[in-house]
């Protein structure tokens, strides 16, 4: 396979305990695009992000980032790669003991040797980009969920990364916050020539900004295509997910014996 993606996942298998989460999957993510990873809950979407960012190690296969196999990197090299990659965690993961300003300044202080003035300007520019320059002195506990996620986004792009990973950016947001985040993700991707990888199951919101969609299910890649192609797909599993049908190839019921047997059971013990 040619190495053309900025993120390449090759023959990757991963399991937690005895449960196999991924079985020999291959994914290639193109630079400069917005790629959305979708799939029913529990298919390991967040796990996949953690594998990409090197927080988890695959059991088999490899994850190539900027052409480097991240399992083979030393800690220093991995950290250097990580500074070229931003992550927006599901909860925002703001440091609760730091103000909004200091949260955004954190990666800059860690990695760059900026003067106080340069730091101040850069942080304010990043906050301005997410519309929260006025909130710089607030503590994370005083932010709404949507605002916290925008601050986290400003922090994630503070080092001007080449890749940004979003873990469920739309989960639990009101419609306005959702639209704001959508716009921000799209704008950031276009303005900074980022490669964006989103994990989401908000189909409409994600598809509206996605260039590519990867649909995961049962430990495998079910489909990898443009959103339009997936919408019109004839594959039953793809159809069921994209159109949000309650029952189908992916059953509504968690596997169990016939209901009648259990209801009519008149044995001694309950």
């Amino acid at each position: 396979m040619a190495l053309n993606g900025i993120i390449e996942i090759q023959n990757l298998s991963f399991s937690r305990g005895s449960r196999a989460i991924f079985k020999d999957i291959n994914i290639s993510i193109d630079a400069g695009k917005i790629t959305v990873i979708m799939g029913p809950s529990g298919t390991g979407k967040t796990t996949l992000l953690r594998l990409i960012s090197g927080q988890l190690q695959p059991d088999q296969g490899k994850v190539m980032l900027f052409g480097h196999d991240i399992a083979k990197l030393k800690r220093k090299q991995l950290n250097a790669l990580r500074s070229r990659m931003g992550v927006l965690f599901q909860s925002g993961a703001l440091f609760t003991d730091l103000s909004v300003f200091d949260n955004v300044a954190f990666p800059l202080r860690e990695h760059l040797n900026l003067s106080a003035e340069q730091l101040h300007d850069r942080v304010l520019l990043k906050l301005e980009a997410v519309g929260l320059r006025g909130a710089r002195d607030l503590m994370p506990s005083h932010l709404s969920g949507g605002m916290a996620r925008r601050v986290a986004l400003a922090r994630a792009v503070a080092l001007e990364p080449e890749i940004i990973l979003y873990d469920e950016p739309f989960a639990g947001q009101d419609p306005i916050a959702m639209a704001v985040l959508q716009r921000l993700i799209k704008d950031l991707n276009d303005d900074m020539q980022l490669t964006s990888v989103l994990v989401s199951h908000d189909i409409a919101e994600a598809c509206a900004i996605a260039d590519q969609v990867i649909l995961l299910g049962e430990g495998k890649v079910l489909a990898h295509d443009s959103p339009a192609a997936l919408q019109s797909s004839e594959d039953p599993a793809v159809r069921q997910f994209m159109h949000g049908e309650a029952d189908g190839v992916i059953p509504f019921h968690y596997s169990a014996g016939p209901l009648a047997d259990e209801l009519l059971y008149s044995g001694g013990e309950v």
Binding site: S53, Q55, N79, A80, R82, S83, M85, V87, F89, Q90, S91, G92, A93, L94, F95, T96, F106, P107, E110, H111
Partner: protein, 259 residues
């Protein structure tokens, strides 16, 4: 029978592997070069772990000292030797009660807070996001808290003894009328700095190590859910308390048992 032995063995291996992981965490956390910034973080943690534990230590020490004075006086007065109450209060405190009681209070006050704080940092992905910024959470979060615990508890134990002795004085001298000179004089004669005070401080140091280590590992390794954090916090208090009492016996046997 074979199954029983096998399950015992696997439980033992599991426990050992947990202890190994806890040890690795500690070694990785403390093997780091200090820097001016890490000094500032240590001072902040000394405030949280040490200074904020002061109130509970001061109040408990005062009451325990007063109770010791009262009990000691009643007991000793029966033999007409109530003059010795000062040495009884001081020896009980510096050898045993200060390190043990201050340790137990410290486990409940600071240890549980450390576990909950780390657990919540894990649950809210703050530890993961530190890692993503190329910052080792063991160096940034665990190390300053560990050293703060190691430094704080011995100091708190020393303060506990001082306040306790004063509490004994309050009851025995001010209230029950023991002659002040014999309260202090007997104490000065009976308490040996190396034998008594220092052995108490060694206990304090060992307890500080155990409590902080247990608390930090439980927080760092907890299941990052609300039940997981609450279970980890409980485990911190239970394990730390048992460790204090168990090690107290061992240390006492080593220090005072032979002679």
């Amino acid at each position: 029978m074979i199954n029983f032995i096998a399950s015992m063995g696997s439980a033992l291996i599991y426990r050992l592997s947990l202890m190994g992981r806890a040890l690795i965490m500690l070694v990785q956390a403390v093997t780091v070069m200090p820097s001016p910034k890490s000094g500032a973080r240590l001072i902040q943690q000394l405030y949280v772990v040490g200074v904020q534990s002061l109130i509970i230590i001061l109040v408990s020490a005062l009451f325990i000292g007063m109770v010791l004075g009262l009990q000691g006086y009643t007991l000793l007065a029966a033999y007409g030797s109530e003059q010795a109450v000062g040495q009884m209060v001081a020896l009980t405190l510096v050898r045993e009660l200060s390190p043990v009681v201050a340790g137990l209070l410290f486990a409940g006050r600071a240890g549980s807070a450390l576990t909950a704080e780390l657990g919540l940092m894990k649950a809210t992905e703050q530890l993961a996001s530190l890692e993503m910024f190329g910052v080792d959470p063991l160096h940034r979060i665990v190390a300053p808290r560990f050293w703060a615990g190691i430094i704080s508890l011995p100091l708190l134990v020393a303060i506990f003894s001082l306040v306790g002795v004063y509490g004994g004085h309050l009851v025995a001298v001010e209230w029950l009328g023991v002659y002040s000179g014999s309260y202090w004089g007997n104490m000065q004669q009976a308490v040996d700095f190396n034998g008594d005070v220092m052995s108490g401080m060694i206990k304090a140091l060992v307890f500080a190590f155990l409590i902080t280590w247990i608390a930090l590992y439980q927080g760092y390794a907890c299941v990052p859910t609300s039940q997981g954090i609450s279970a980890a916090t409980t485990r911190t208090v239970v394990y730390a308390s048992l460790a204090i009492l168990g090690f107290d016996f061992i240390l006492t046997a080593l220090m005072f048992g032979g002679a």
